[in-house]
Structures are given as structure tokens and as C-alpha cells.
């Protein structure tokens, strides 16, 4: 007797890319099931509840914001392909963000969703660089995403146009923090995608955060007839020849599918393949990423603006050279990202009641993993204070006692938390350094989508799922 379930399409992971891929396939009449190891969807862009409050685990801001009516952009494509009503996304634009460098943020570049603001800031702070900045901007606009383009180091290309190293570092800082899986430098192609997403398009956020986006996707997926199995991951991908012949689920049951889309990462997917030799030399032995973060969350009894904190996002670095790499210690507090989720242009009825300050810093997975519970808690408490103190150097001063009195709750996640909830090795939030832009694997009916297919961010991850479903499942070429 054969009790195996068969699907046209099996999707591993119910993050944004897996859900988007599932929606596309289901919409085209395919039988689809998404398998998710955790009880909640979201993956690297998840959420959690603590003490009656809801926290986003990934999302600071949705990038790629363009006003309604602007055509031919990633956000427009995404809305169209998933048949979303743009208004339902309730995206509200940022108020304004800053990149600050130097021990007390002496050099500051402001930017908004209007690139003219950044342009005038570059002209003000680096008058000799403005022509180069404009040339670089034009180059980015003229660089379509090309999966097979040779990888050119971003710093090399940027350096041809921006000759002042401080200016180049400041411009690269937000792009690296919001999307580079690589230490030190990344490819110009990836940089161009992020430059477009962050500087030429912009930041926005629904007041409710990632939960609203996930809810919309789940509704679409259900309406289209898709199934999902929560708390039931895929334990093994059984290869026969060059095909993924069967999936073995966490509960031991077996499933077959014509197509398998895996959103869980390249090395993570390779590790599921049995026999391991079927994963091939290159795919089977790719190194996982090492870029991971800690994030502190402080919830307080007033709007951040009441403390004089008006920024939406602040990218800080306390010297003139950014060290975007896995730190030697547990955390590198010298640089990071401060996000005030309150500081978007919400209509009065949407403004969150409590204030929140989130600070992200680079962290070393290996320094967090071996700790016993007590030591882990102590290390968290220690670094919470140090990360907060580091970030506060770049904000309007507020008396420590007053801030403590206003604080209602706090929390922190670490690389260990990321691996526990997403399965990504090393807590690598942007996945492996080697991306598979074509989404192909050594097994001809197994494809990657999501982080390690190479499109990043909220919009990028959904587009990744859409693109891979379209190219690999719906219209194989």
C-alpha cells in the first residue's frame, strides 16, 4: 500500500519567499504544500510575543518603497504577481534616517525616500564627491539585476566614483547592514540592488509590522488552495539519481512532489540530501555565512520623539572605517543600526502607543552557542547594556535614570536565537556568501528560493519566491 502524499509542488519553509512561491504555484492550479518546522510562519522575518507585547524579529523597515503609480519597480511587480491590494500593505513612509560616523557621530548624512535629500547631504559634507555620487547613482540605475554577471567587488566600483574613503564607507554602511552576507565587501551587483532599494526607493512600514504582511500572504495562499503543515519540517530529501524523489518529514511520514522549492538556505538544504554524495561537491560543501546580529529591544512609555529621537533609522559607526565582519568577541558594539518603529509617517490612529527602540550589532555565533543557560542570560544582560550605551552616543542625550524609569520592557535576541528559530547555520541572517541566483541545485527538481537564491529584504525575499516559482515550476525554460 502506498500512503505517501503527492504534491505538484512541495515548499520547505513558510517564510516570505516560501509563502510567495506557494501562492504563485497554487494560483496556477498546482497542488502545493508548505512544510514549516516552527509553529509560526515568517522565518528570518518572524515575530514573537513576550509579556503581552508583539515584537518583530527581523523587519525594521520594508525597503523598495515607491509611491503608488510608480511602475516597473520590485514593489509593483510583487503586488501584481501576488494579486495583493497595495492599500492592504498599509505601508507608511519613513520620516528620515541618518548615517553617522565618528566617535560621537561627527559626520552625518541624512536621507529620506527622496534621493535629492541624500544628494544635497553628500554635496554639503563632501562637496568634491557630488559628481561622483551622481555618476554612481546613474550607474546603479543602469545596472539591471543580472544573475550571470561576473562578481565585481563593490568597493572597487564605488571607489572609482567616490574617492573620499569616508564618504564611500558612509554610503556603503546601510547597504551592508541591510543585506550583505559577506564580510568586508560584497559584489557590485548586490550593492546596486540594495542602493536602489534603500536610497533610490526607500523605507516604509506597516504599523502592525511583519505580522500584517504574513497574514496577507497566508490569506492569499489559503484562498488559492494551498496547504501547509506547521511544526513539521523536512528531515531528509531522498535523492534517486539526479532527482529529489521523496521528502521525509520530521514526523517520519513521506511525501513526494514533482518540484521541491527550498527556502531554508543553500548549505541547510544540501545537508538534508541523502545520500550526501547526491548533493555534489560544490553544493554539498558550500560554507555557511558568518554575518550574524544581536538585537536589543527597549519598550518605553512615550513616543521616541519625546526624548528627542526623531530618526526612523540610524546607521552608526564610531570611527571612519566600518568593520563589517564577524567580531572577535561576542558582539561588536562599535557600529550598528538603531530603529525606531514609531517614527514612520503613521496617521494618528495608527501610531503605536508605546515607544520602541531597537538596536542591532554584529555578533559572533560561536561566542553565544556553547554557553549554559545562566551564563547565556548573564552575557545577554551585559551586552544589552553595552549595545544600548553604544547606540545612545549617537542620539540626543537622555538622562539614564529617566530612561530607566520610562522603560516598560526589554528583550534581546542573539545569533543563537536566530539559529533556533530559523535553522540558519551560524545565525547567518543573510545566509551563505555564495548565492545561487538561478536557484538550481544538483537535483534537477530541487530549487532554492529566499535568502540563498540571493534576493534579500522583505520585498526581495517575496520576489525570490515568485521568480523561482515562475521560472522553475510554472514556465520551465
Amino acid at each position: 500500500m502506498n500512503s505517501r502524499r503527492h504534491y505538484d509542488v512541495a515548499v520547505i519553509g513558510a517564510g516570505l519567499s516560501g509563502l510567495a512561491a506557494g501562492i504563485r504555484a497554487a494560483h496556477f492550479g498546482k497542488s502545493v504544500c508548505i512544510f514549516e518546522r516552527h509553529n509560526a510562519p515568517g522565518g528570518l522575518n518572524g515575530f514573537y510575543s513576550l509579556g503581552g507585547r508583539k515584537f518583530d524579529a527581523g523587519l525594521h523597515a520594508v525597503t523598495n518603497f515607491v509611491p503608488p503609480g510608480v511602475k516597473g519597480t520590485p514593489l509593483g511587480r510583487l503586488v501584481r504577481q501576488l494579486r495583493l491590494d497595495r492599500d492592504q500593505l498599509a505601508l507608511r513612509e519613513q520620516k528620515g534616517s541618518r548615517v553617522v560616523f565618528g566617535p560621537a557621530g561627527e559626520a552625518a548624512l541624512r536621507f529620506t525616500n527622496d534621493v535629492a535629500v541624500l544628494e544635497s547631504e553628500v554635496a554639503r559634507l563632501f562637496p568634491a564627491q557630488i559628481d561622483g555620487f551622481r555618476r554612481l547613482t546613474e550607474l546603479v540605475r543602469a545596472t539591471p539585476f543580472e544573475p550571470d554577471a561576473p562578481l565585481v567587488p563593490a568597493r572597487e566600483v564605488v571607489g572609482r566614483h567616490i574617492t573620499d574613503p569616508l564618504c564611500a564607507e558612509m554610503l556603503l554602511c546601510p547597504l551592508m547592514f541591510y543585506g550583505s552576507p559577506n564580510e568586508g565587501d560584497f559584489s557590485f551587483g548586490q550593492m546596486a540592488v540594495l542602493f536602489q532599494a534603500i536610497y533610490l526607493e526607500g523605507f516604509a512600514r506597516p504599523a502592525e509590522g511583519i505580522r500584517l504582511i504574513l497574514r496577507l500572504l497566508l490569506e492569499k495562499y489559503r484562498e488559492a488552495g494551498g496547504e501547509r503543515r506547521m511544526k513539521c519540517g523536512v528531515r531528509q530529501i531522498v535523492a534517486e539519481g539526479d532527482r529529489a524523489a521523496m521528502l521525509i518529514l520530521d514526523d517520519g511520514s513521506e511525501v513526494t512532489a514533482d518540484h521541491v522549492l527550498s527556502s531554508i538556505g543553500g548549505p541547510e538544504t544540501a545537508a538534508l540530501i541523502a545520500p550526501p554524495a547526491a548533493a555534489g561537491e560544490a553544493f554539498g560543501h558550500q560554507p555557511p555565512g558568518v554575518i550574524s546580529y544581536v538585537e536589543t529591544m527597549a519598550v518605553f512609555d512615550r513616543q521616541p520623539a519625546a526624548f528627542g529621537w526623531d530618526d526612523t533609522i540610524v546607521f552608526f559607526n564610531d570611527s571612519d572605517r566600518l568593520h563589517y565582519e564577524r567580531p572577535a568577541g561576542a558582539v561588536d558594539p562599535r557600529s550598528g543600526v538603531i530603529c525606531f518603529p514609531n517614527n514612520f509617517q503613521f496617521p494618528p490612529e495608527e501610531v503605536p502607543e508605546e515607544g520602541m527602540m531597537r538596536v542591532t550589532c554584529l555578533a559572533n555565533y560561536d561566542a553565544w552557542v556553547p554557553l549554559a543557560e545562566d551564563a547565556y542570560s548573564a552575557q545577554k544582560a551585559d551586552w544589552f547594556a553595552r549595545v544600548q550605551a553604544s547606540a545612545r552616543r549617537f542620539l540626543a542625550p537622555v538622562d539614564a535614570a529617566a530612561f530607566a524609569a520610562a522603560t516598560r520592557a526589554s528583550d534581546m535576541f542573539t545569533p543563537r536565537t536566530i539559529t533556533r528559530f530559523t535553522g540558519h547555520r551560524n545565525g547567518a541572517i543573510y545566509g551563505a556568501p555564495g548565492k545561487s541566483f538561478r536557484g538550481l541545485t544538483p537535483l534537477r527538481n530541487l530549487y532554492l528560493c529566499g535568502t540563498d537564491q540571493g534576493l534579500l529584504g522583505i520585498v526581495g525575499s517575496m520576489l525570490s519566491g515568485i521568480t523561482m516559482a515562475n521560472q522553475r515550476v510554472l514556465a520551465p525554460v
Binding site: K71, R77, R80, R83, T467, L474, A475
Partner: protein
């Protein structure tokens, strides 16, 4: 079905998959791609909607026939008229 009715069917589908496009002045003889922001993914969706709504199959080799409203009408109208009555 007449050719004009067929064009209307195609326009209705485009209106659903690309609600942000202004379809009031689409020229029937001009390639849709040249006057609207439609990419190959969108054409895939047009084909899918034809199948879902009308049970009408367009093989991949025939996708170029959907280039303009006129060519859509030429190609699709006989197919519509050959469908069993529902």
C-alpha cells in the same frame, strides 16, 4: 464570440492582473509590451487566467500570438468559438 468581444476578454484579464495600468487607450495593433508595463511573467498570468476562466489552453509555442490585442483576437477568437458550450 466576435473579435471585439475577445479583445474585451483579454483587456478584462489584464485589468485584473495589472490593476495599476490605464487601459483606456490601448491601441489594438501595437504590441502590449510596448504600451503597458507587462513583462513575461505577466504574460504567463494572462495564459493562466485564460485557462482558469475559460478552460482555454495556449501552448508555450503560441505565446508570441498574444503580442497585441489584434493578434490576441486573431488567435484566440477561433479557440473560444471551438470551446464546448458551458
Amino acid at each position: 464570440m466576435t473579435k471585439d468581444e475577445c479583445k474585451k476578454v483579454v483587456l478584462d484579464i489584464i485589468a485584473d492582473i495589472a490593476p495599476d495600468e490605464d487601459l483606456s487607450a490601448v491601441k489594438p495593433e501595437v504590441r502590449l509590451r510596448d504600451q503597458l508595463q507587462l513583462d513575461s511573467m505577466d504574460f504567463l498570468d494572462i495564459v493562466m487566467e485564460l485557462r482558469k476562466r475559460y478552460g482555454l489552453e495556449v501552448p508555450e509555442a503560441d505565446y508570441p500570438q498574444l503580442a497585441s490585442l489584434d493578434s490576441c483576437a486573431e488567435y484566440l477568437t477561433p479557440k473560444f468559438n471551438a470551446l464546448p458550450a458551458r
